[in-house]
């Protein structure tokens, strides 16, 4: 059964980069969304067992999504992929329960490592 995965980023290029960095042999079904609201809708619809989340998005940003998911204690695994690499951002992301914080530009090895660490691959 393919694992439902959602990529949330308002930049088309960025979503492409994530897609390309995912392990080729991983059996997944990908949904792409462009803002936080759509990301939550995808989670509700069961399309996001794994969520790759950008922090700066319109409508509802990454932090908003994280706190919502944290409150609901959903089982979605969140991997934040962001350009905002200030220590403050990392602190907050960790506090809100993300599994990992990866910096942009995305390093596919780091991504694979994260997926291995969480037991998805």
């Amino acid at each position: 059964m393919p694992i439902p995965v959602t990529i949330a980023d308002d930049s088309m290029m960025s979503r492409k980069v994530v897609r390309r960095a995912l392990p080729a042999d991983w059996d997944i079904e990908i949904t792409e969304v462009t803002n936080g609201k759509e990301a939550l809708e995808a989670v509700e619809a069961g399309k996001a067992d794994v969520l790759f989340l950008d922090l700066t998005m319109p409508e509802l940003d990454g932090f908003g999504v994280l706190s919502y998911l944290n409150e609901r204690k959903t089982k979605t695994i969140v991997i934040v992929i962001s350009a905002d690499i200030q220590p403050e951002a990392k602190k907050l992301v960790d506090k809100l329960g993300a599994f990992r914080f990866l910096h942009k530009p995305l390093n596919s090895e780091q991504l694979s490592q994260a997926l291995t660490d969480v037991g998805l691959i």
Binding site: M12, M13, I85, Q86, K104, P105
Partner: protein, 191 residues
């Protein structure tokens, strides 16, 4: 020649700037230990008149810095008058600021921000750029007729240090011929 960016190209440039900015903000944050807020990067093609309008401000100081390499151009930075003293304190300058130390501070700040922005940008596109030293610049002294180009590509980002009420804008301007070099690198990245 007017460069019409496709949606895809604009989106890509915006994302590249976003990432560079993140690195720049991180550099500055490490130096001053304060939180920095970033704006969404703006990509635009402008005429000299539009350029002058964009960068003119009587509440900001201006600096400019040339860069050479695979692509050539200049980085113009705008720093708010407000909040200068607060930033100076964070950067370990002696207060109160004299005209000379204020200039030193502005040049150092713009060098750090421009350097990080440009380097991040160039790295992702596999371009080499070398920044020369920044100098203070007064755009009011130049009129649009002064500029020898018809259009230029601008990539603009804004940094705010809220706790100090300090505002800074970095504008990367590309020289005409470098724009096509940029676009071809961009296209290869998008394939």
């Amino acid at each position: 020649m007017i460069y019409q960016l496709s949606e895809l190209q604009r989106d890509a440039l915006q994302e590249l700037m976003n990432i560079s900015m993140g690195q720049a903000a991180n550099s500055l944050a490490r130096l001053i230990g304060a939180k920095i807020t970033l704006s969404i990067p703006l990509i635009s093609s402008v005429t000299p008149t539009e350029f002058v309008d964009m960068i003119s401000s009587d509440v900001m100081w201006h600096t400019r810095q040339s860069f050479l390499g695979t692509v050539k151009g200049e980085v113009v930075s705008l720093q708010s008058h407000a909040g200068c003293e607060a930033i100076a304190e964070l950067m370990d300058y002696e207060l109160p600021l004299s005209d000379i130390t204020r200039e030193e501070l502005l040049l150092e700040l713009s060098n750090i921000l421009a350097g990080a922005c440009l380097n991040g940008f160039a790295e992702q596109l596999e371009l080499t750029t070398k920044l020369s030293m920044p100098t203070v610049f007064e755009p009011e002294k130049l009129s649009p007729e002064h500029y020898r180009w018809a259009h230029t590509l601008l990539m603009e980002v804004e940094f705010k240090v809220e706790s100090s009420h300090f505002d800074s804008k970095i504008v990367i301007c590309l020289e005409a011929e470098s724009i096509s070099t940029l676009l071809s690198r961009l296209n290869s990245l998008l394939e």
